[in-house]
């Protein structure tokens, strides 16, 4: 058995609302990964949210508030 060595990190929400210029640029995913995911060295993970505490070590509280209020 081959140990997975290449990870793909993806969440279904990315295909619905990702990089809002167009919004559905990832509409074909995860289906477009089907052949890759058949390879024994490739593994798919579902992306998980990180804590506010971690985000606040990089961004200011004002930025977090502004992002939350942004209509996009």
């Amino acid at each position: 058995m081959v140990t997975p060595r290449t990870g793909i990190f993806y969440h279904p929400s990315f295909s619905q609302r990702s990089y809002l210029t167009v919004g559905r640029r990832l509409a074909a995913f995860p289906g477009a990964l089907k052949e890759l995911l058949a390879l024994p060295q490739v593994i798919l993970f579902e992306s998980q949210p990180v804590s506010d505490e971690l985000i606040l070590k990089v961004h200011t509280p004002d930025l977090i508030r502004a992002v939350a209020q942004d209509p996009l």
């Binding site: 290449t6 793909i8 990190f9 990089y19 990089v58």
Partner: protein, 208 residues
């Protein structure tokens, strides 16, 4: 992105490709824009530093536009090498923050834009990575510079294949193959659907 970086750093994966929602390189410490709400790369670096003792990181930013948010957050950090292909030339005093003007060169090169872009990326990034000796390599991959997308630099799939080859080779030489590819800009569904699996296939080929 944080989980991807962690698994690569811990050796549970050799390399990884991270899709994103609304993360990106235009998010600075106290500003955001260009549809980048939070700086996923900077957050992942913060996590690896705090929890896992990450040292030096090298970032190749080939999104069509300048990574102003990443530069804002990491600009004073000499343990982050950030090489950005964009519209102007700049090298910081310590040599770890580098901008390379490619717009005019690509437009003038026309059908040779892939070749010109790749040469610029290699010339700016490869020697610096070799001397910087990072512990982790991150490629911020935007496809907005592809022909017909909103940052059109005349690039084609061949250019992105060249870039994944370059980053794989440098990661192998400099940091035990630890490579994280992070999706940046680009808007077209057809391009995402063809370019992204082709890049992941190269990552997988390198570990198979």
């Amino acid at each position: 992105m944080v989980a991807a970086a962690q698994r690569v750093w811990l050796g549970e994966l050799v390399n990884a490709f991270a899709f994103i929602g609304a993360g990106g390189h235009h998010a600075g410490r106290d500003f955001f824009g260009g549809y980048c709400c939070l700086n996923d790369v900077a957050i992942a670096i913060q996590w690896l530093r705090e929890v896992h003792g990450l040292g030096r990181v090298a970032i190749l930013d080939t999104d069509a536009h300048h990574g102003d948010g990443t530069r804002d957050i990491c600009g004073d950090d000499p343990t982050v090498l950030h090489v950005c292909l964009c519209g102007s030339d700049h090298v910081s005093a310590d040599g770890t923050k580098v901008d390379v003007a490619v717009y005019r060169r690509c437009l003038e090169a026309a059908v040779r834009s892939d070749e010109v872009y790749l040469e610029a990326a290699e010339a700016a990034f490869a020697p610096r990575v070799r001397s910087f000796r990072p512990d982790l390599l991150i490629w911020y991959f935007g496809f907005d510079g592809h022909r017909g997308d909103y940052g059109d630099l005349g690039l084609t799939a061949a250019c992105y294949q060249g870039l994944v080859g370059l980053t794989l080779a440098l990661a192998s030489q400099a940091c035990g193959r630890r490579l994280l590819v992070v999706l940046g800009g680009g808007s077209r569904t057809d391009l995402a659907t063809s370019l992204i699996p082709a890049i992941i296939a190269r990552l997988a080929d390198a570990t198979g």
